[in-house]
Symmetry: C2
Subunit: 209 residues, 2 copies
């Protein structure tokens, strides 16, 4: 059915912004389910329309294509209220960040959406662009972790927050999505401890160019 033809909202499904936001959210959920079940190559506008209950012509009009659907689902993922951990120490914050990654990839259901987005970016430039924007914004949110570490004398002023967050996340993403090895909490802790040592030593001041 068309979004304009939808009946009263089911309790609990109304998001700020009303029907438009609800439609967008329903479409996003259908995109994630489709990506997880069929992968980017198997995702179609028809599937998203049927699964979300939003009329196909509405989906085409607002999102244009499968690429537009995936990019918008990523944009929507970036509009959450996630904030980085604040445990009182740099290593604690890094450990909590790393454990979020291992918990995500240690659970098939939690891993489905990020895995599907990363996979889609191999096949769609627009998905790749949306993924880059998502991570840029995520890294910006993590600046508070490094700012607090500098205030506590755990990191030299000028430390590159994005480089620190990449260093603590990357070995876990690498195992989960590249070398296809398992990840667990001890690995998260090892990675966090290693990065905290390097941060203190000034290794993540901006790379010299």
């Amino acid at each position: 059915m068309d979004e304009t033809a939808q009946g009263d909202p089911t309790p609990g499904t109304v998001r700020p912004g009303g029907r438009t936001a609800r439609t967008r959210s329903a479409v996003r959920d259908a995109v994630l389910t489709g990506l997880a079940e069929h992968g980017y190559p198997g995702l179609t506008v028809e599937y998203v329309a049927e699964r979300s209950g939003v009329h196909k012509t509405t989906v085409y009009r607002r999102w244009g294509s499968v690429e537009g659907l995936v990019a918008d689902a990523l944009d929507l993922a970036g509009e959450d209220t996630w904030t980085p951990p604040d445990t009182g120490s740099l290593e604690g914050d890094l450990r909590a960040l790393a454990r979020e990654v291992t918990e995500t990839f240690g659970s098939a259901s939690a891993a489905a959406a990020p895995t599907a987005f990363v996979a889609a970016a191999f096949q769609s430039d627009r998905a790749a662009e949306a993924l880059r924007a998502f991570y840029t914004e995520r890294f910006a949110r993590c600046e508070s972790v490094v700012r607090r570490a500098v205030e506590r004398d755990e990191a030299p002023p000028g430390t590159d927050a994005a480089a620190v967050v990449r260093a603590v996340s990357a070995p876990l993403f690498f195992r989960a999505l590249v070398t296809r090895e398992p990840v667990d909490a001890p690995l998260a802790d090892q990675t966090a401890a290693a990065v905290a040592i390097a941060v203190r030593a000034g290794a993540y001041l901006p790379a010299r160019r």
Copy 2:
């Protein structure tokens, strides 16, 4: 044409093992080209047969399917003579390893095969298994880097070579294949310096479980 019907080898194309190895290599080249041009979803046995000049029935008989083709191309990639750098210092070796990664992903042609393999692993369990085996073997080759570092008192005995190599490669793979950011030599050097500091401090002794 069938491998048994191939004529005299073109100079320079004979590999150790003769016709069978040449057929396998031609098929591997066709798989890589197909993955780079069409991605895993667009790769077909028919394409590989036509591109390699090996008869379709031979391809089906020996490789079975597209999954088998990709897995064997990865197995073949793992049979090269690559050895890790030996520069005389841990940081020098790590820098050289990291720069190999940035050089690969800084060049579209060099990046095509590894990118295609990683992408294929999202869609094929057999490709994922072959990728894991490839990296396990690669990391084993890098044990000499850490063994020499231990001998030079640059790393504590028991340092986990695979963890060190993952740590120095992962932030660059992460940028190239997950966050879709550019990589360059200064980033390689920054990563190597950070990991060398953490290694010296004992951060890559086996993770406590």
